[in-house]
């Protein structure tokens, strides 16, 4: 009966310590009863192989142990939607914060190229995301049981009358779109205003802007539309469903973006370039030309959104 002892010990090893002895004792008694019954049935003592067959039929020790003591998931199934939503929101905010941090760092740093900027955002975001993921998961896992039942109670307190209208599939606003827009607007506001803030409020040395004087002036006039874009994104975040006023606001913001991008592309040079380092590779004119073409191509994105929103408004008006 060495095999039985080994089997019971293997099951016990997979169990929580406080249950090991009791379950092991009972399991051994049950297996011995079964083996005795089998021996009585065939009239002779069981061979080692027959004992092994009985144990094999019971299932692998890990499986049997899991039956006795099922694994509790780290995040209960009913909390999973809330967990995913929290994760998405926190990661989105961390992404925006990372853009803010890296942009301000880029604008004050002297030897900080565009590639280092992008890499800095990626590595910084991954670092923050790992921390955020761990903190949220641990928070949910350590949530007391009474809070969990509280969550269930509040989930039952919903009212059918509070539900949003049916709406088409496209009316749902994805969180990733909102956070991408927020990150873009924050980046633009920082890149336009940071050098001026540094100069006016921090009393620091004037920081040279990446834009030419003319482009910067245009962008400063355009800033209220970017702020409008931020407010629009925050509204989208709160409602998560396109409505006529939201679409109209989004249309105005995107139209303003198209106009400013086309204006920047058609008026004089856009960027103040340190061409000394590049002279061996590109001429300043070629770089400015490429920037202008880039701006025109970029204007197609808000342009597409303007047309899309007009069509959506028509659909909603029907």
């Amino acid at each position: 009966m060495e095999l039985v002892k080994r089997y019971v010990a293997a099951v016990q090893r997979e169990l929580p310590e406080q249950k090991r002895q009791e379950i092991g004792r009972e399991l051994q008694a049950n297996i011995m009863d079964q083996l005795d019954a089998l021996a009585e049935q065939q009239g002779t003592a069981l061979s080692e192989q027959q004992v092994a067959d009985v144990l094999k039929k019971m299932g692998p020790p890990q499986h049997v142990a899991r039956q006795f003591s099922p694994i509790q998931p780290l995040i209960p199934a009913h909390l999973m939607p809330l967990y995913k939503y929290t994760m998405y929101m926190v990661l989105g905010v961390l992404f925006v914060l990372q853009i803010v941090f890296m942009t301000s760092h880029w604008l004050t740093g002297s030897d900080f190229g565009p590639i280092s900027f992008v890499l800095g955002i990626a590595s910084g975001f991954i670092e923050d995301a790992i921390f955020g993921f761990t903190a949220i998961t641990l928070g949910f896992a350590l949530m007391p049981a009474n809070t969990r039942s509280g969550q269930r109670k509040s989930a039952n307190q919903w009212q059918p009358a509070d539900l949003p209208p049916v709406g088409a599939g496209w009316q749902h606003i994805s969180l990733s779109d909102v956070f991408t827009d927020l990150a873009t607007y924050t980046f633009l506001l920082l890149i336009i205003w940071f050098p001026l803030w540094q100069q006016l409020f921090a009393g620091g040395e004037p920081v040279s802007s990446v834009f030419t004087q003319q482009s910067l002036q245009l962008l400063i006039w355009f800033s209220p539309f970017i702020v409008l874009g931020v407010l629009s994104s925050l509204w989208q975040l709160q409602r998560r469903l396109w409505s006529r006023p939201m679409l109209s606001l989004n249309l105005i913001v995107n139209l303003a973006f198209v106009i400013i991008l086309v204006l920047l592309a058609t008026l004089g040079p856009v960027l103040q370039l340190d061409t000394a380092n590049w002279s061996g590779y590109f001429s300043p004119e070629a770089v400015q030309q490429a920037v202008k073409r880039g701006l025109l191509i970029t204007s197609l994105i808000p342009g597409y959104e303007v047309i899309r929103d007009i069509l959506r408004l028509r659909k909603l008006n029907k």
Partner: protein, 122 residues
């Protein structure tokens, strides 16, 4: 339907019914192996890896009383339906009867069709 799908659905269907069967069987005192034999004799085949943990879980929920006793030269843990278990069994039995009565007519056309098919094949 694949065998895997059928197995999964059969498992789901049996899960709740097995609790009812075990509670009903434990109106009489049983130890693990004798309970399995009792269920087997009644036509309910349940493997040990499922039955023994199920009995323990029911005991932990206070639905069964248990005690260790010596029997036939070996110690065994005997289980018997507790007061709480008896109350629950009564409610579950009522639920099962209602459900079974409702299901009967719903399943009838299927049974009739199966009988017809068998007749045609025969």
């Amino acid at each position: 339907m694949t065998t895997a799908q059928l197995d999964k659905m059969r498992l789901e269907l049996r899960r709740g019914v097995l609790v009812l069967a075990v509670l009903a069987a434990l109106r009489e005192r049983h130890y693990g192996y004798s309970l399995r034999r009792h269920l087997q004799d009644a036509g309910i085949d349940i493997d040990e890896g499922t039955l023994y943990p199920l009995v323990r879980r029911l005991a932990e929920q206070g639905l069964l009383d248990s005690e260790w006793q010596q029997g036939e030269g070996r110690e065994r843990r005997y289980y018997l339906l507790s007061e709480l278990g008896a109350e629950l069994l009564q409610q579950l039995t009522h639920e099962w009867t209602t459900l079974n009565n409702a299901l009967g007519p719903l399943l009838q056309p299927e049974q009739t069709m199966s009988a017809k098919q068998a007749e045609e094949q025969g």
